[in-house]
């Protein structure tokens, strides 16, 4: 029990240490919020960008930046910010709403292949769980499993030991199930690499240079998988299976520590 308390305490302390924010970020965000509220979206956009440059990095900050970009007509950036918000916080309802609203205004409408039942269930599950919260729960479940093992080893044969064995079995199953979910969340977060077109119109070429022929043209706000990168060019894969190369500078990355890449 002491071990669990110690672990929880460590976590709380770590969180508190991480929550410390430089006052410049706070000031930049508050000022940007004021500008946005007064309908001055360009200063608001600049304020949010400045907060990000100063080290601000939160789902709500990207959400606000997306709103400012939307008001300025930069639909590509808006989509990128909402996608980034949802990457950081899959349960961000406002970002999901605004993203759906913005997508209605986009030129390219590519229907992804319908996921099967298992895929739908998986998407439903991972879109509702934050990876950090899942990590904490995984830690607690693992500690519980260890304690359960120790408790069971101390019990003599009898009804109490049978009950303990049942509880231990449940704990083990929970650990396995949650472990799978947690591993999936980590894999999804680490392996996924998506790009969003930031310019009004973008030619997709057959190779990573301007000399290669244009295969097709995509438009602002289209989200595509980035499957490889070569010297300033990204190879993008569209939901319908088409793929080609685009200049990396014209595509923002969803899963990134920087902005827009």
């Amino acid at each position: 029990m002491k071990l669990v308390r110690a672990l929880l305490l460590c976590g709380v302390i770590a969180n508190c240490l991480g929550a410390e924010t430089p006052p410049r970020i706070t000031a930049a965000v508050e000022q940007a919020n004021r500008h946005y509220g007064e309908g001055r979206f360009m200063p608001a956009y600049d304020g949010y960008r400045r907060a990000i440059e100063l080290g601000g990095y939160s789902p709500d900050l990207f959400y606000n930046l997306g709103n400012a970009a939307y008001r300025l007509g930069r639909l590509g950036e808006a989509v990128l910010c909402y996608e980034r918000t949802l990457w950081l916080d899959p349960g961000h309802g406002d970002a999901a709403f605004n993203l759906e609203h913005t997508r209605r205004l986009l030129t390219d409408k590519i229907e992804p292949p319908a996921p099967n039942l298992a895929g739908s269930a998986w998407e439903w599950a991972v879109s509702r769980v934050d990876v950090s919260a899942a990590g904490w729960i995984m830690l607690c479940l693992f500690a519980g499993l260890g304690l359960g093992l120790l408790a069971m080893s101390r019990l003599r044969l009898g009804p109490a030991r049978q009950r303990a064995a049942g509880i231990l079995g449940i704990l083990l199953a929970l650990n396995l199930a949650w472990g799978g979910l947690f591993a999936g969340l980590v894999w999804r977060r680490e392996s996924g690499r998506d790009g969003v077109v930031l310019v009004k119109s973008l030619n997709v070429r057959s190779g990573p240079s301007e000399e290669n022929p244009v295969l097709f043209t995509v438009h602002e706000g289209l989200k595509a998988g980035v499957v490889s990168q070569v010297q300033g060019w990204d190879q993008v894969l569209l939901p319908n299976g088409w793929n080609g190369w685009v200049p990396a500078a014209e595509v923002g990355l969803v899963q990134s520590e920087g902005y827009p890449r």
């Binding site: 970020i25 990095y57 400012a68 990876v131 830690l139």
Partner: protein, 638 residues
Amino acid sequence: MVKVPVLPGRNIPPGPSTARSNPPGARHALPVAALWLTLSLALAMMPPALADGPVVRATVDANKIGQEDTVTLQVTVEGDTDAEILERPSSADFVLVAGPSTSSQFQFVNGRASSKKIFTFVFSPQKTGALTLPAVKVRVGGNVQATQPVAVEVVPGTLGRSRAARQPRSPFDLFDDYEQEPQQPADPGRDVVVRLESSPARVFIGQPVTVDLVIYYRVNVMGLEIEKEGKFENFWVESADPGAKNPPQQSRRQLDGQVYYAQTVRQWVLFPMTAGTRQLDPWSVKLLVQAAARSFFSFDRRQVVIRRTNPVSIEVLDFPAAGRPAEFNGLCGRFEFTAAVDKQKVPAGEGVNLKVTLSGEGNLRSLSELPPLELDRCKVYTPKTREDIRLAGGTLRGSRAWEFILVPLEPGTLRVPALPLAYFDPAAGAYRRLASPPLSVEVAGQAVDGAVPLSPAGVALPLELKGRDIRYIATGASLWRTRKLPVYRQPWFGAAFAGILLATLAVGAWDERRRRLRHDAREWARSRAAVQARRALKGCARLGRKGFSDAFFQELYRILQDYLESRYGLNRIALTGAGLRQSLAGAGLPEEPVEGLIQLYQLCESHRYAPAALAQQDPETVLATVRQVLEQLERGQS
């Protein structure tokens, strides 16, 4: 049959020649001449069919047809039964409706064999005039030959080229007819006719016109398919599915003096939207018919024919200008107009349902909105529209209802005035005026302010979405968080898992050892001897705080005896100085702690006999010596 000139054909470029010219020289002249003579004789003796090579001919069954007829093109290849069609012939003038069907014939005449292969195509003309049947490319041997395009004159309507009308060429050409019989039977002509039939031919705007697509036939029709749909421009079309309920039955009708079976396959009710003479686009229908056998020895054959509908024109009259009411808005037919409220008495602020219903027959759907309803000191919500309109009897029948919610704001009598409506009655050729009955509702209670949102009891007000927009920005402390690694990427996260795992394993191992020791009492006592002795020494130290006493030495003596008994298995009764040294030396212990232990033993025993001799010593010093000796013994044992 009409013969068509044969096209020489286009040869595929020959491959590289394998023939070599003989080198000139007099000494070779004789053998060459002999070879030439032999070849000439052999060629002269060969059957003409083989000597001439394959011949391709194209024939049509008629050079003049009606637009509703079909023309059959036969391509005959003589001398090669392996010939094949390279591609389906296509043309803007004709549509290929059947073929190619193939047949092969062999003949033996005067000991000479001949063979031919016939490809048969059936085309349907797309327009009238001097048209051209497309060329057909045939692969013959190693060459490709193409027939010459064939000119065919197409006139409107049909020439009625029924196979039954054909006569034998002579009393003796029965077999000739059989020989010339194409694989595709001749067009059944007027045995199958497709017509668009409309009624009436002269209507007012908005007056329904019934249009039927009818097939007239005197041969067996096995199937049909709409080849080309005509558009009903300038009409509002209500389509009736004849197969859904009460499908039209087959009937016998007369057409151009002939009796046919008639079957309606599609029905529409058209409502003209503008005045003028309107032509209905023709429809093209592809039919699979079963043609009768040509002789007792042959079978009935199936054939695809294409038929185009007859031209249909409808004269649409505008509404008369004389006597047109101001409220008239194009409604045409015969209608009734009613209105009713669901409550006669309500308190102010409570909703009343007003239902206005237009029922009857005619273009009900053309009336989209009622005139705006404005009532004094009463809030009127946008009405919901319900309709129950069906196609029956060649027109639309049913009703449309507008349900208003009225919320009176002041007590008194709420009066709903009569609502005017006008329509045109085509049967009478005159306008009619209607008005809903005036209604009144008693309003009780106190006046309410119409500016505040009302929620009338018992009435479900529809929510209206005025627009769509993104949601507002987030505010609050969650905004200014800095970049933070997710928990699984922080170093302590993995360490915590490893720590939990190691702690569990360590505690488990410790528990296991304890459990194992408990099963062996001797070993358990041995392992616990030093711990028990140290604990007992703490109690002894409490006794020593008061100075030396019997109790102190008795306790110390007991502790040493217990320790030696548990740790080394010595009998406490036999623990004397010499025996103790011998026993401990046998246990392999170092000499120094053994001597210390013997001295402590002696100290305890001497207290029994000369207590005064120990008065100068401190009990703490004695206990410290005991602890040191025990420690040395444990260390030496380990």
